[in-house]
């Protein structure tokens, strides 16, 4: 079983990205759970969402304490939140950032494996909005292969209907541009 923690700000679609991953995984005949950090969420405040993915039935209702994968939707969050908190040994943090690897490591004091992509630029250019929740899923797939692109694209079609084309384009571009390090 793999556990994912998604950091975003209220309104950025972190819960939606968790939902997209889970439903895509379930479509692949595997098992998944997706859930928000339960509570009174506020627009703009740091929030989290979680996904569990497994080949067999998932038998836990615990919170996620030790994620294998952390996805950060907003470039400003690692300065506010310790995004690698509880990360498993060998785990990976996937960041939306315009910085290069050494600057990221120095600025945010991160010594784990990293995957970096400038999702704000991609989202702005492809979607016309700095909303990175679907873009960052391209980085997630590239860095972890936790779900197939095809299933994810189907999930986007279902969720966004006619708006899915642009989201799929952003997803693919992030997949191509994500740099995996360490």
């Amino acid at each position: 079983m793999k556990e994912i923690r998604i950091h975003g700000r209220g309104g950025q679609g972190g819960v939606t990205s968790a939902e997209l991953v889970a439903t895509a995984v379930i479509d692949e005949k595997k098992y998944a759970q997706a859930f928000p950090s339960f509570g009174p969420e506020r627009r703009g405040a740091p929030v989290m969402a979680f996904v569990r993915v497994s080949d067999s039935r998932i038998r836990t209702r615990e919170k996620v304490y030790h994620p294998d994968i952390v996805v950060v939707l907003d470039p400003s969050l690692p300065a506010l939140v310790k995004v690698s908190e509880g990360l498993k040994d060998g785990g990976i943090v996937i960041l939306n950032t315009h910085m290069d690897e050494s600057t990221v490591r120095k600025t945010f004091n991160l010594d784990c494996r990293l995957a970096l992509v400038d999702a704000n630029v991609i989202a702005r250019e492809v979607l016309g909005l700095p909303i990175t929740n679907t873009t960052m899923l391209g980085a997630l797939v590239k860095a972890t292969g936790i779900v197939g692109m095809e299933a994810l694209e189907d999930a986007l079609d279902r969720r966004f209907g006619r708006l899915s084309a642009k989201n799929k384009a952003a997803l693919k571009r992030a997949f191509a541009e994500t740099q995996i390090t360490g």
């Binding site: 968790a18 939902e19 439903t23 339960f38 038998r59 836990t60 209702r61 615990e62």
Partner: protein, 392 residues
């Protein structure tokens, strides 16, 4: 064909209500039940379900409308939680003694104060004695299945009682997970249209719910108690029919690795899944620990529970509710009474855990199993223990 989908449990419950062809849904939104009634109002507004959605002004009104609707012979559904359920309290006792089959899904949540929107079972335990049939779901699939089962049982003329399906707030209600949604044809086969023995009809006026003078009140209450106890047979039969059609079997008390178990933990609701993982871990370590999951809470499945639990040496009963000043938690109290002075009965210890959204982890279950084993040797002073209380 039933289809397996990744879906939020609340949305899946609404889809089950749609599949059940509910006709009247009076409801008032409250966290964490909100998604259930929001989605139902959407389904009805879109014309996908021919039903009346009544956006009432309070939960008190919601339950009052439910009484009227069920009395008029409509298949009636509502959903609530916590403070909302408490506001219904005055009305909750009425449809049960009046034998009106309403189905309500509760997204279980703590009661204030302090204000908490998170999960435990205090809301429903306060309403333990309302005389409704009550079941608890462990996962999203069960939430859907037990909702369909509830309509089938409640509306059976031999039962004619309202029914609550408990699903844990957030930990189930807001979870996206794989659920098999049955198809309409199968549900129609399982759930015939509601045909009450009597209904309110202006062309054939009758009185329902008149005053119960001292000469009849006791008899009305005894009749209600007997009806609730007698519903057991229909509950079991409806689960059997459910298994025949949908292939999933349910029991009033579910066992997990109870073979040769000396210690049995007793759970209700979604923590049962984590408990199973904990039992697996303890079994791997050679500890003889098993799990009993109470699916049916009212009527209490005394027969099944005694039969299964009697082989244990110790029971660690977990309550999700702390009744201040009581002897112990409500489930602990019930099970202790069940085994009182029964020769060779297991010793019963009561733990209170997971209040107001506090996580009940694998480690906590291990702690409770170890403590139950230790207390069997040396009896503790108190009859219950609250688990995981922070000292600083």
């Amino acid at each position: 064909m039933a289809k397996r989908v990744g879906i939020e449990v609340s949305i899946a419950v609404s889809e089950a209500v749609k599949l059940a062809r509910a006709e009247v849904i009076p409801a008032y939104p409250i966290t964490p039940q909100t998604h259930i009634v929001e989605h139902l109002s959407e389904i009805i507004a879109n014309g996908d379900l021919d039903a009346e959605f009544i956006p009432v002004e309070s939960e008190h009104a919601a339950m009052s409308c439910c009484c009227g609707s069920a009395a008029a012979g409509a298949r009636t559904f509502t959903s609530s939680s916590s403070q909302g359920l408490s506001l219904m309290s005055e009305i909750l006792y009425i449809p049960s003694t009046m034998r009106l089959p309403i189905v309500m899904v509760l997204a279980n949540r703590a009661l204030s104060a302090p204000i908490s929107i998170w999960n435990d079972h205090q809301d429903v335990m306060v309403q333990r004695d309302i005389g409704w049939i009550q079941t608890f779901a462990e996962n999203g699939q069960e939430a859907v299945d037990l909702t369909l089962h509830a309509f089938r049982v409640a509306e059976d003329r031999r039962v004619s009682l309202p029914m609550i399906v408990n699903i844990d707030g957030f930990t189930l209600s807001h979870m996206i997970e794989p659920i098999e949604l049955p198809d309409q044809e199968e549900v129609d086969k399982y759930l015939p249209p509601f045909k009450p023995r009597r209904r309110l009809d202006p062309r054939k006026p009758i009185t329902m719910g008149p005053v119960g003078i001292p000469e009849v009140y006791t008899e009305a209450k005894v009749a209600h108690d007997q009806a609730l106890k007698a519903s057991r047979k229909i509950i079991l039969k409806a689960w059997q029919e459910f298994a025949d059609i949908f292939g999933r079997q349910y029991n009033p008390v579910e066992e997990y690795r109870t073979e040769d178990a000396e210690i049995m933990l007793v759970t209700m609701g979604s923590i049962s899944e984590t408990a199973m993982t904990a039992v697996d871990k303890m079994r791997d370590e050679g500890k003889k620990v098993g799990l009993l999951k109470l699916r049916l809470w009212r009527p209490f499945p005394s027969l099944e529970f005694r039969r299964i639990a009697k082989s244990a040496k110790v029971l660690g009963v977990i309550d999700r509710c702390l009744p201040p000043g009581a002897v112990c938690g409500p489930v602990g109290e019930e099970i202790r009474s069940l085994f009182y002075k029964v020769p060779g009965a297991p010793k019963v210890f009561n733990f209170i855990a997971g209040l107001g959204g506090r996580d009940v982890t694998v480690e906590r279950f291990e702690e409770m199993a170890d403590k139950a084993a230790a207390y069997a040797k040396k009896r503790p002073k108190e009859l219950y223990e609250v688990i995981g209380v922070r000292e600083k």
